[in-house]
């Protein structure tokens, strides 16, 4: 009797809800957990020990050294490249999409509906579908294999335009804009002094999604970049794997990149996204909610 009282009573329905949630957490969380733990283990341990064995500090340091000394700290170059592409892409997409969404939401002009429809179509078109035309375009402009080429291509972010459009058309108080007009704001000042400061949550949200897309951008980068000095992390990771034969069961070679090194490289790819999310989530969450609440 007393032991039963200690447990909160839950209905069968709730039990299944919790059971399903617990399953989902395990199903999606375990691979990530494994990834972070596996970076500390030796190749031998990966094969023979139980999956969640934690390796040693020495092994981790050796793996880290192998990875970072390979080809003159090539992974570092790729990480910096990734940062350049991502920050550049985020900046360009913000500069383009926030004002575009604002104008689409607040102005009436011929062709506005058409632009919205085209934006929507561009948004749902898989980005891989336009990789070839982008490649041809960049080739024509001589921007293949350059930082500017990939940044320019990733600055095209219709999803951001649409997010900003939704935000400005639903969450921007009309009275405040009218009041600013009476106070003497011209069209440009209306945007810079009133709309933009109020749109901080949506700027954070668009920046976050854009960063996410750019950081993990593989296919476009793979097609546009042929010089391995210009690779970003996802392309670099593939090059690392295929160049070293780490994941194929080839006969032993001299390249120090084995499975632990590749796993650690994968952690390097994933980690910044985690960090950015933790920093941005407060803004992102308020951005998602702000359309729903008044004032």
């Amino acid at each position: 009797m007393s032991s039963r009282a200690a447990w909160p009573r839950i209905s069968i329905g709730r039990f299944f809800v919790f059971a399903f949630l617990a399953f989902a957490v395990c199903f999606y969380g375990i691979p990530l957990l494994w990834l972070f733990i596996a970076g500390t283990r030796s190749e031998g341990s990966l094969f023979s020990d139980p999956p969640f064995t934690i390796g040693t500090w020495d092994v981790f340091v050796r793996t880290w050294t192998n990875l970072t000394t390979y080809n003159n700290f090539q992974i570092g170059t790729w990480a910096i490249n990734s940062l350049i592409y991502s920050v550049g892409g985020v900046a360009l997409s913000l500069i383009a999409s926030i004002p575009a969404g604002y104008v689409l939401a607040l102005s009436e002009f011929p062709g506005r509906k058409l632009i919205l429809v085209v934006t929507l179509i561009a948004m749902i078109t898989p980005s891989t579908a336009v990789v070839l035309p982008i490649f041809l375009e960049m080739n024509l402009l001589g921007l293949n294999n350059t930082y500017a080429g990939l940044v320019l291509a990733t600055g095209f972010f219709p999803f951001g335009v649409y997010l900003a459009y939704i935000y400005f058309s639903s969450a921007l108080p009309k009275g405040v804009m009218d009041s600013a007009r009476v106070d003497g704001c011209n069209r440009f000042q209306l945007f810079t002094r009133i709309a933009l400061p109020l749109a901080r949550p949506i700027v954070a949200l668009v920046a976050f999604f854009s960063f996410l897309a750019n950081w993990s951008n593989y296919f476009l980068a793979f097609v546009l970049l042929s010089d391995d000095k210009l690779y970003n992390l996802p392309v670099g990771l593939t090059a690392l794997v295929s160049g070293s034969g780490a994941l194929s069961n080839l006969p032993a070679n001299d390249v120090p990149i084995k499975k632990p090194e590749v796993i650690l490289a994968a952690v390097l790819v994933v980690l910044p996204v985690f960090l950015v999310f933790i920093v941005a989530q407060r803004f992102v969450r308020s951005g998602m909610l702000s359309g729903a609440e008044k004032g």
Binding site: V176, S179, D183
Partner: protein, 371 residues
């Protein structure tokens, strides 16, 4: 020179006319209220004066200058919005100073003006706060402060008190009255609350369906409404309307009867009465009396048999709702407490000289106030 002049102003959205041929002159220092029900066009007209809505036809002049196509900020106006419309990302000081900064005033000048506005509106303690930390009344005071620092030629108020609770509304009404007295600036005030219009305004512009129904001093509109709309809109509780007809005419005077009782006849001087024409008789609730029997009725009163449907006792005033067999209840205002009870059969007394008469198209046939 007039402060604001509207000349044949029109506004349509597609084929829908929202504002239809409005001519109006507002003198310097005047406090004018635009009243009307929702959709009457009163807010649209105000926004047109502000420059926030385009004008389809006609001219708007402020201080003698044609501003029909001028930007809102070039019109010398300041506006207070129903939603307060404060900038949520700026504190009170910056909200009030925003316009002055845009106009490139020097820092000392801005500071002096903001402090002065804060003093007038008793906002001194709140200057560092953000709008989210203010109460409704405080926010509205900031909105007014933002307007007064500009020294505008005309203040425009768009239902500024309708988001406030009843007690605060009375207080802010007095503040606006004081402000008008202190500043002496022309003010145009849009409201659907006729108490605000009656108490604040020098003149009331009654609007309906985008047209001016009547312009006049508050009590003139109350005493001599130009048509049935104004008669019904000004005054609370609203005027009672009873169907009637013209029995006969002789010269300027006519004999009228109430449809509820053809024997209830009275004589009035009327414009354009024709024998047999249907009219609407208007009676303000406070001019009506309720008697328990026909013997009590004072001489010269018209009487109608009635039954009390329900009573509302407010302490100082009692409202009786009477059924006289017409589709609408008759409201009677009785001062003080009343011994009458629900479902009691009574006699309704009307004073013929205080009745309003409207023709079939709603225009007043008795004397009309004109301004």
């Amino acid at each position: 020179m007039a402060a604001v002049e509207l000349r044949d102003v029109k506004k349509s959205f597609g084929s829908v006319k929202v504002i239809d041929r409005i001519d109006l002159v507002i003198e310097k220092g005047e406090f004018v209220a635009f009243v009307g029900p929702s959709g009457s066009g009163k807010s649209t007209l105000l926004r047109m004066i502000a420059g926030l809505e385009t004008v389809t036809a006609g001219d708007i002049l402020i201080d003698g200058q044609d501003v029909t196509f001028a930007e809102p900020s070039d019109r010398g106006i300041a506006m207070v919005f129903q939603s307060y419309a404060l900038y949520p990302h700026m504190n009170v000081y910056d909200n009030i100073a925003f316009n002055l900064r845009l106009s490139r005033f020097g820092k000392p000048e801005i500071d002096a003006r903001v402090k002065e506005a804060a003093r007038i509106l008793r906002l001194d303690e709140l200057l560092a706060r953000s709008p989210a930390q203010l109460s409704g009344g405080q926010r509205q005071r900031v909105a007014i402060g933002r307007a007064i620092v500009r020294n505008p030629k005309v203040f425009l108020f768009d239902e500024p008190l309708s988001n406030l609770d009843a007690a605060l509304r009375v207080q802010m009404r007095l503040e606006i009255e004081r402000l008008h007295r202190e500043l002496g600036t022309t003010m145009i005030y849009v409201t659907h609350d006729q108490v605000e219009a009656m108490t604040l305004a020098d003149r009331i512009v009654a609007l309906d369906e985008g047209k001016i129904q009547q312009v006049g001093r508050p009590l003139e509109l109350y005493a001599r409404p130009g048509n049935q709309f104004v008669a019904g809109f000004i005054g609370s509780p609203k005027m009672n309307f009873l169907p009637g007809s013209v029995v006969s005419t002789s010269g300027a005077s006519a004999v009228l009867s109430l449809d509820a009782d053809r024997n209830a006849m009275f004589e009035r001087v009327l414009d354009g009465a024709r024998p047999g024409a249907a009219v609407t008789i208007g009676a303000r609730p406070e001019t009506l009396s309720v008697f328990t029997s026909a013997e009590e009725v004072s001489a010269g009163m018209l009487t109608l048999p009635a039954r009390i449907e329900t009573m509302e006792r407010l302490g100082n005033i009692t409202f009786a709702y009477l059924d006289i067999g017409a589709p609408e209840m008759i409201t009677v205002q009785i001062m003080g407490f009343s011994e009458l009870s629900d479902q009691q059969d009574v006699v309704l007394g009307l004073r013929p000289d205080q009745l309003h008469v409207f023709n079939a198209s709603g225009a007043a046939m008795t004397g009309v106030a004109n301004a």
